[in-house]
Subunit: 435 residues, 2 copies
């Protein structure tokens, strides 16, 4: 900081500074959930970020656990020492320099996107904001501009699944059982709705022939009339397959998520779609927005603070939604409570969050925060953030040690659902479009 700003700072009280940043890779149990690429491995990877100030406060973040993310976080983390936790521009500039080797002061976002860079910023930004809340003695949603609702609605996230993992992961099979038939999927839906009270339902698809999956949706719609439904084949269909299926979705779906695997193809689908199209795959960075708008390719954007650049960026993305008439929903990967708290805090503050948000949380059994999963009590499918300043969660160090040991021991360093699927079907290929 130069003279003039230091002059302003001199008249206010001393601020806490970042003294240490720690990133711990973890692995937690994950069920054999099926998707277009393959099947979830027995361990899901994440990283737990701790940003500690010189007065002993610890801000928390949670991000991806793959080697690329860990490498980016490692490159940036030591550069953050000395920053003020309110200095999000300083954080962003440091990560730009460390990860991308370029200055933050550049004029535009790259058209090809900057997902890896934005993900690294986001991982730390949540921890900085957690610290801001702790320092100001306010829940994070207040730091973010205040709540426009009292709870954030989440949706049931259905997966076709195997009964158990192919190789024994050293822990007992999950208690959800096999879900490969329409009846089993209706049972899965019933448990989701009864245990969590979800009022919206999303089917992870692209696993079976589309007509089979549509029959699953029809069975669910019959068992749960009036529940908004969505299907997400993760870009597993061709434009022509999507065209053939479109009439079957009318009156059945709330929106159609990522039927195809590129923005150009999505633009083609948009020309004939009779449904809102949603994405978390082809429009995933601000650099993609101009083309998305030009093609009128999407009607719903799924925010995700983990890769859009953080909680402030998520709010900004929702603002773009207001400007361009795009609906706003929220995407999820397998995650634990730090992410769920962050998603819930920001979800409270977005005026145009028009759809129930995705979460994988019901599929997890482990936690890394003090008090465990009891921090998160869904009521009618909706969640209030844990009470207290900042995120409202604290790290359970014993749990962190256990989850880190699982990371070390499991040997997985990069998620590979296709490789896992080849244990069941040696000829498995995850080329898209599959159908």
């Amino acid at each position: 900081m130069k003279r003039s700003i230091a002059g302003a700072a001199a008249t206010v009280s001393r601020r806490p500074r970042i003294a240490d940043v720690r990133v711990t890779p973890i692995a937690f149990r994950d069920p054999p959930l099926l998707n277009v690429v393959g099947v979830h491995e027995p361990w899901a990877l994440r990283s737990i970020i701790e940003v500690e100030t010189d007065d002993g406060r610890i801000g928390l973040g949670e991000s991806y656990g793959d080697l690329e993310t860990l490498g980016n976080l490692a490159r940036a983390q030591k550069q953050l020492v000395g920053l003020d936790p309110f200095d999000l521009n300083g954080l962003t500039a440091k990560v730009y320099e460390a990860v991308a080797g370029q200055p933050f002061a550049g004029q535009t976002f790259p058209p090809a996107g900057d997902k890896a860079l934005a993900s690294a910023i986001a991982a730390f930004e949540v921890a900085f904001l957690d610290l801001q809340g702790q320092i100001a003695d306010r829940p994070l949603y207040e730091i973010l501009g205040g709540a426009v609702r009292e709870r954030v609605a989440y949706s049931a996230y259905l997966f076709y699944k195997f009964k158990q993992h192919k190789d024994d992961p050293g822990y007992p099979p999950d208690d959800w059982g096999e879900a490969l038939t329409h009846a089993q999927m209706v049972d899965q839906t019933r448990r989701m709705v009864e245990e969590y009270g979800f009022g919206s339902i999303k089917l992870k698809a692209g696993v079976f022939e589309p007509d089979f999956e549509i029959d699953t949706l029809r069975a669910i719609a019959k068992a749960f009339p009036g529940y908004p439904l969505r299907i997400d084949p993760n870009g597993g269909w061709s434009v022509e397959t999507t065209r053939r299926l479109m009439p079957k979705f009318e009156g059945l779906l709330e929106y159609l998520e990522d039927p195809v695997n590129s923005l150009d193809e999505a633009g083609e689908v948009a020309k004939f779609s009779t449904l809102p199209l949603a994405t978390n795959m082809v429009t995933v960075a601000f650099g993609h927005i101009p083309k998305t708008v030009r093609l009128n390719a999407m009607q719903v954007i799924l925010t995700d603070h983990h890769y859009w650049g953080g909680l402030r960026a998520t709010q900004t993305l929702a603002h773009y939604g207001r400007t361009f008439g795009l609906g706003i929903s929220m995407h999820s990967n397998s995650h634990l409570g730090i992410s769920l708290a962050a998603m819930t805090h920001v979800g409270l503050t977005i005026p145009n969050l028009a759809y129930a948000c995705d979460t994988h949380y019901p599929w997890q059994v482990e936690e890394v925060v003090e008090g465990g999963r009891a921090n998160f009590r869904f009521e009618k499918g909706a969640l209030a953030p844990p009470p207290g300043p900042g995120l409202g969660v604290r790290l359970d160090r014993a749990a962190l040690a256990t989850l880190h040991k699982q990371y070390v021991d499991c040997g997985i360093r990069k998620r590979d659902d296709a490789k896992e699927m080849r244990k069941y079907r040696p000829d498995w290929k995850s080329d898209r479009p599959r159908f």
Copy 2:
């Protein structure tokens, strides 16, 4: 606030609440500056906003002083009592309801724009943010995410002007003298550059035949080689006039601001323009962004927190600039120090603020803040914010009373530069395009 959120709040300390909101219209001396519409009246109108908490803090804002703005502020101000100064969403919702009679939770910004609504939000938002800074004991730029530069560059804002007002306003003529010839305008530039150190120069145009104004620019360019120049005829030219003039601007201008008076016309100009086009007239609300982008009508957007919705909205607008490859600069009306402090704080935080900002401040002689104009010391044309928490300025109540009395006495209730011009030229018409 409902139960679940109150639950979170219960575990943190009690927050200050808004106890009173005051809006005081003021009038301050303004020189007879010429523009496409006419000439500045002897008194410029503003409103001073005070938002007081129940623990005695006062947050300040400054906005327009016309009757429409005062009416909107009056409709909203009492609705804000009881809010937490961190609750910008609550503020926005209250102003939406009071001013527009509609809920904030709507999906999109109106394509026709919402400048009056956004202006009312902004007037209070600055005061709320000032309070946030005071409560957190931090300068406002830290609340806004941290400074990316130590000072904000402003530009010399040149006006053709009369020596003195037609009717005696009851105060002596300003000491700038007449500026109606090229030589007088070079003298004006010299004083601006010598007193303030400005490194960029903008000419308010649309007053004389365009070729005369271009000759003024050429005289200034000759006297101040290497200084970036701009011209702003405030939409006073036709598309065809702009086409004819375009070759004369090459090598002379940094950007061309609002040559024409509508977004459709700007789209026409953009097709043949060899210069970046800038605007504070035809793209003035987020609802205008989609068409602006579709027409590729603008290359530079002039932010102005007073009508874009506040300081957070200004940052968001700058983010749109990064996404869509639009340069970011800043617009000004006649204003006092509360606005200048707010402009400077937010300017510190915008990574892609690529041009020196406009300010009318050199044309003013009065102030409403304690310490007066000495709060703002330009160095090489750039300004650091006043030191201290929040905006860094406090209200001078004696000055406020004087300026309010001037408002009461002057009788002006709506700026009307055309009416004022008819005192000099009874046949004056302010139709656009003039040329």
